[in-house]
C-alpha cells in the first residue's frame, strides 16, 4: 500500500517551504531514519527523514520547488497513484486567520519620511531587518550583533542570515544560552563606546535579562547626570507566535514602555522595520526593538533608498478615515487594516493608526485623529491590564475628553496565560472580527 510523504511543518509557524534537494530517487529503498530531502523553511534548512520503510515509488514535487505548502504530498513510498500535486503553491489550504492578512500591505497614504516618487520594491520583514543591520554595520565599525544562534546557525529565525559571512565572527557573535550575562556584556560594551545589537531569540527569554535592560541600560544616563551613554539595541521577536504555549507567548510592549530612559519600538511592516531599526542603531539611547515572528515572513513594499532611516517617536496613519480611529501596533496593525476593510463594506470609514514607537508615544497623532473621528478603538495583541491600550484610553480621556463621543474600547487578548490547544489559543487572541465589533459599538451601530 502506498504511503504518502507530506511536506512537514518544521517549526510552529511554518506554512510553506522550499523543497531544496532530494537525497533519494525513485526506486530507492529507504528505511526509517534515512534522510530523504532537505527542506528550506523561513528559518532554516532542515533534513527530512523517513519514518517508514519501502521503495520510493514516485517523487511528486521536484527539487527546487518553492512555496510548497505544509501537508502537500511530495513523494510516495510504495505502489499506487496519488492525486496530482497542487498546480501552484498559492492554491494550497488557507492559512490561519491571524496570518491571513494580505501578503502585500494595502497602499498607505504618503508618508513624509519617504520622498515622493521613491521606487518601491518588495521585501519580507525578515530581510528588511537583516538589511538594516548589514547597512549599519557597513556604515559604522562599532556596530556588532550578539545573541544565541545569530552567527553559524544564521539566526534562530534567520533574521541575521548572511551577516557572519559578510562581517566575520568578531562582529557577529554567537553567545552561550545566558541571557542575563550577555545582556550585561552588551550593555557594558555600549557603556564602553560600542554600538551593540543584542538579539534575544525571543523577548520571553529577555525576562532573564530585564535587570540589565532596565536598571543598567535605561537608568544610567540619568543616574550619572548625563555622563554615561548606553547606545544598545535589544531586539527580537515579541508577542504570541503560534501554539508555543504560555511561556513563549507574551507581549512585553507595555512592560518596557513603562520605563523612562528606554526607547521602545514595535514596527509592523518591512519599511518601518528597516527604517526604524536603522534609526535605533544610530540612537544614542538604549532601544528595545520588538519584532513579531508571525510577521517576519510577510512581504510589504520597501522604498529603494540608499539610506532609509525613519524618525523614532512618530506614529503613522496607515489608512485615512472619518468615522472611527483604530489605534494599534505590531501585528495588530494588519488586523486593524483587515477590520477597516470589513467596516468599509458596512459603511463605516475607519482610520488606522500604527503607533510604531511605544515610547515616546506619539500622542499628537492619536489626539488629532480622535478630534476628527471622535471615537477610538485600540487593538493590541497583548493582555488588557495596564496595557498600551490602557495608556491610549488614559490619553484620550485626559487630553481629548471633549472630542470623545463614545467611551474608548480596548480590544486585547483574553486576560489568561496563552493556552496551547488550537481552539483555546484562537479564542484568547485578538482577531479582526473583534475589532470590527468594537468599532461598531463605539459608532453605536
Amino acid at each position: 500500500m502506498a504511503i504518502e510523504l507530506k511536506m512537514p511543518a518544521l517549526s510552529p509557524t511554518m506554512e510553506e517551504g522550499k523543497l531544496a534537494r532530494w537525497l533519494v530517487k525513485e526506486g530507492d529503498e529507504v528505511k526509517s531514519g534515512d534522510i530523504l530531502a532537505e527542506i528550506e523553511t523561513d528559518k532554516a534548512t532542515m533534513e527530512f527523514e523517513a519514518v517508514d520503510e519501502g521503495t520510493i515509488g514516485r517523487i511528486v514535487v521536484a527539487e527546487g520547488t518553492e512555496g510548497v505548502k505544509v501537508g502537500t504530498v511530495i513523494a510516495v513510498i510504495g505502489e499506487g497513484d496519488v492525486a496530482a500535486p497542487a498546480a501552484a503553491p498559492a492554491a494550497a489550504a488557507p492559512a490561519p486567520a491571524a496570518v491571513a492578512a494580505a501578503p502585500v500591505a494595502p497602499k498607505a497614504p504618503a508618508k513624509p519620511e519617504i520622498p515622493a516618487g521613491t521606487n518601491m520594491k518588495h521585501s519580507t520583514v525578515r530581510d528588511a531587518l537583516r538589511d538594516a543591520m548589514a547597512e549599519e554595520m557597513r556604515r559604522d565599525p562599532r556596530v556588532f550583533v550578539m545573541g544565541e544562534e545569530v552567527a553559524e546557525y544564521q539566526g534562530a529565525y534567520k533574521v541575521t542570515q548572511g551577516l557572519l559571512q559578510e562581517f566575520g565572527p568578531k562582529r557577529v557573535i554567537d553567545t552561550p544560552i545566558t541571557e542575563y550575562g550577555f545582556a550585561g556584556i552588551g550593555t557594558g560594551a555600549a557603556m564602553g563606546g560600542l554600538r551593540p545589537i543584542v538579539e534575544f531569540m525571543t523577548f520571553n527569554f529577555a525576562m532573564q535579562a530585564i535587570d540589565h535592560i532596565i536598571n543598567s541600560a535605561a537608568k544610567t544616563n540619568y543616574m550619572s547626570g548625563g555622563q554615561m551613554r548606553c547606545p544598545v539595541v535589544f531586539r527580537g521577536p515579541n508577542g504570541a507566535a503560534s501554539r508555543v504555549g504560555a511561556q513563549h507567548s507574551q507581549n512585553y510592549g507595555p512592560w518596557y514602555a513603562n520605563v523612562p530612559g528606554l526607547i521602545v519600538i514595535a514596527p509592523y511592516d518591512a519599511s518601518d522595520a528597516k527604517g526604524l531599526l536603522k534609526a535605533a542603531i544610530r540612537s544614542e539611547d538604549p532601544v528595545v526593538f520588538l519584532e513579531n515572528e508571525l510577521v517576519y515572513g510577510r512581504t510589504f513594499e520597501l522604498p529603494e533608498l540608499d539610506d532609509h532611516v525613519l524618525p523614532i517617536g512618530k506614529a503613522r496613519i496607515m489608512r485615512e478615515g472619518k468615522d472611527v480611529t483604530i489605534v494599534s501596533y505590531s501585528i495588530g496593525v494588519g488586523m486593524a487594516l483587515e477590520a477597516a476593510e470589513t467596516l468599509a463594506a458596512e459603511g463605516i470609514d475607519a482610520e488606522v493608526i500604527d503607533l510604531r514607537t511605544l515610547r515616546p508615544l506619539d500622542k499628537e497623532t492619536v489626539l488629532a485623529s480622535l478630534a476628527k473621528t471622535n471615537r477610538i478603538v485600540v487593538a493590541e495583541e497583548g493582555w488588557p491590564t495596564c496595557s498600551i491600550a490602557s495608556e491610549i484610553a488614559a490619553i484620550a480621556m485626559e487630553d481629548g475628553f471633549d472630542d470623545l463621543d463614545a467611551p474608548v474600547v480596548r480590544v486585547c487578548n483574553e486576560d489568561v496565560p496563552l493556552p496551547y490547544a488550537n481552539n483555546l489559543e484562537k479564542a484568547a487572541l485578538i482577531e479582526p472580527s473583534r475589532i470590527v465589533a468594537a468599532a461598531k459599538k463605539v459608532c453605536y451601530r
Partner: protein, 357 residues
C-alpha cells in the same frame, strides 16, 4: 606585615586553587608577596588610604547629621584593596567598575573628593549632578564606570567593558570589583564563562569583607574560597591578603601582566574586613564588638603601612603632616558639599534620554 586570613574560615593558603594549572598566578604571588615600593610610593599609598578613611568617617558624620540620605556604604577597613589595585592600572586607559560601595575606588582613582562629597549630599556640583547619590557615581574621563546598585550587575557590565577593549584592540583591561555577597549571583558565573571563552581582558576582584550585609560567608557560601570559583571556567585564581597594600599591589601586578598579555581573565579574592556596618542603618547584631576590635588592632591596612614606613625610617612628623593635609582636604570637601546648592528643579527632566525625539 601581618597576614590576615578570613575571620570565619581557616586561612586557605594551603589549598589555593586545587585545580592543576590554575594556581600558577598564586604561586607567583606566593613567591613575591610584597611589592617593592619605593618610600615615595608607599607614602602615596598611605596618603590615599588615609584620605579614604577620613573621607568615609566624615561621610558617616554627615549622614548622622541628615546631610546625606538614603543608602550610604562605607569603605573603612578595605582601603588597601582599591589603593593597591588601582595603582597597578593605567589611569584613563584601563576601565574600572564596581558596586554601590564605590567612594573608596573613586578616591583611589584620584577623583576630586569635593565632587564625590557633593554627590553624597545631593548637590548640583556632585559628580552625578545630584541624581545618583552614594551608590551611583561615574567618571567616564577616568574610565570609572560606576557605581551600580544591583548586586552582581557590575560583573557582566565589566565583562562588556572588557569586550570593548578587546574589540577596539586598545590594549586596555577592565577591573570589576564585587563583594563576597555578589559572588553568589548567577550572572557572575555567566560572565566568567563568556570571559574565559572569549579571553576577555578582565580582572574579577572579589572583595571578601566576610559579610554580605549581615550574612557571614560561611552561612551563605558552600565554597568559601572564592578564588577557586573560576576553576569550572578555567580561570586562574589568586588568594590575596587584602589588608596589606603591598601584597595587594604585588598580586595586582601579576594579574595585570597576565591579562594584558591576552591570556583572558583572572579571578582575585582579596580578603579584607569592613569595620562599619553594611550601610549606615546596619544594627551590626551579627558579629561581636571583639571581632571588629581585633581586626582594627591587628589587621588594619593603614596601621600596617605606617609601621612599614617607620621601619624604613620615615619620620613620624612626615606622616603627621600627611594626616593634617588629608584632614584639611576632607574638611574642605565637606564644606563644599554642604554649601553647594541643590540641583535646579528643571534638572528633574534632563538626562532621561540623550536625544530628542
Amino acid at each position: 606585615m601581618a597576614r590576615t586570613g578570613k575571620t570565619q574560615n581557616p586561612t586557605p593558603t594551603a589549598d589555593t586553587t586545587g585545580n592543576s594549572g590554575l594556581d600558577h598566578l598564586q604561586q607567583a604571588y606566593e613567591a613575591n608577596r610584597l611589592y617593592a615600593a619605593t618610600d615615595d610610593e608607599l607614602l602615596h599609598f598611605y596618603e590615599q588610604m588615609v584620605l579614604i578613611r577620613r573621607f568615609e568617617e566624615r561621610a558617616g558624620q554627615l549622614y548622622g547629621l541628615g546631610l546625606i540620605g538614603g543608602f550610604c556604604h562605607l569603605y573603612i577597613g578595605q582601603e588597601a584593596v582599591a589603593v593597591g589595585i588601582q595603582s597597578a592600572l593605567k589611569e584613563g586607559h584601563d576601565s574600572v567598575i564596581t558596586g554601590y560601595r564605590d567612594h573608596g575606588h573613586m578616591l583611589a582613582y584620584g577623583i576630586d573628593p569635593k565632587v564625590i562629597m557633593a554627590e553624597l549630599t545631593g548637590r548640583e556640583a556632585g559628580i552625578s549632578r545630584g541624581k545618583g547619590g552614594s551608590m551611583h557615581m561615574f567618571s567616564t574621563s577616568h574610565k570609572f564606570y560606576g557605581g551600580h546598585g544591583i548586586v552582581g550587575a557590575q560583573v557582566s557590565l565589566g565583562a562588556g567593558l572588557a569586550f570593548s577593549h578587546q574589540y577596539n584592540e586598545d590594549g586596555g583591561l577592565c577591573v570589576a570589583y564585587f563583594g563576597d555577597g555578589a559572588a553568589n549571583q548567577g550572572q557572575v558565573y555567566e560572565s566568567f564563562n563568556m570571559a574565559a571563552l572569549w579571553k576577555l581582558p578582565i580582572i574579577f576582584v572579589v572583595e571578601n569583607n566576610q559579610y554580605a550585609m549581615g550574612t557571614a560567608v560561611r552561612r551563605s557560601s558552600a565554597e568559601t574560597h572564592f578564588h577557586k570559583r573560576g576553576t569550572a571556567f578555567t580561570i586562574p585564581g589568586m588568594d590575596v591578603n587584602g589588608n596589606d597594600v603591598l601584597e595587594v599591589r604585588s598580586a595586582a601586578n601579576i594579574a595585570v601582566e597576565y591579562v594584558r598579555a591576552g591570556n583572558g581573565p583572572v579571578l582575585m579574592e582579596l580578603n579584607t574586613y569592613r569595620y562599619r556596618g553594611h550601610s549606615m542603618s546596619d544594627p551590626a547584631k551579627y558579629r561581636s564588638r571583639e571581632e571588629v576590635q581585633d581586626m582594627r588592632d591587628h589587621h588594619d591596612p593603614i596601621e600596617a603601612a605606617k609601621i612599614e614606613l617607620m621601619k624604613r625610617g620615615v619620620a613620624e612628623d612626615k606622616l603627621k603632616e600627611i594626616d593634617k593635609k588629608i584632614r584639611q582636604i576632607v574638611s574642605e570637601s565637606a564644606d563644599f558639599a554642604e554649601n553647594s546648592p541643590e540641583p535646579a528643579l528643571s534638572e528633574l527632566y534632563t538626562d532621561v534620554l540623550v536625544e530628542t525625539y
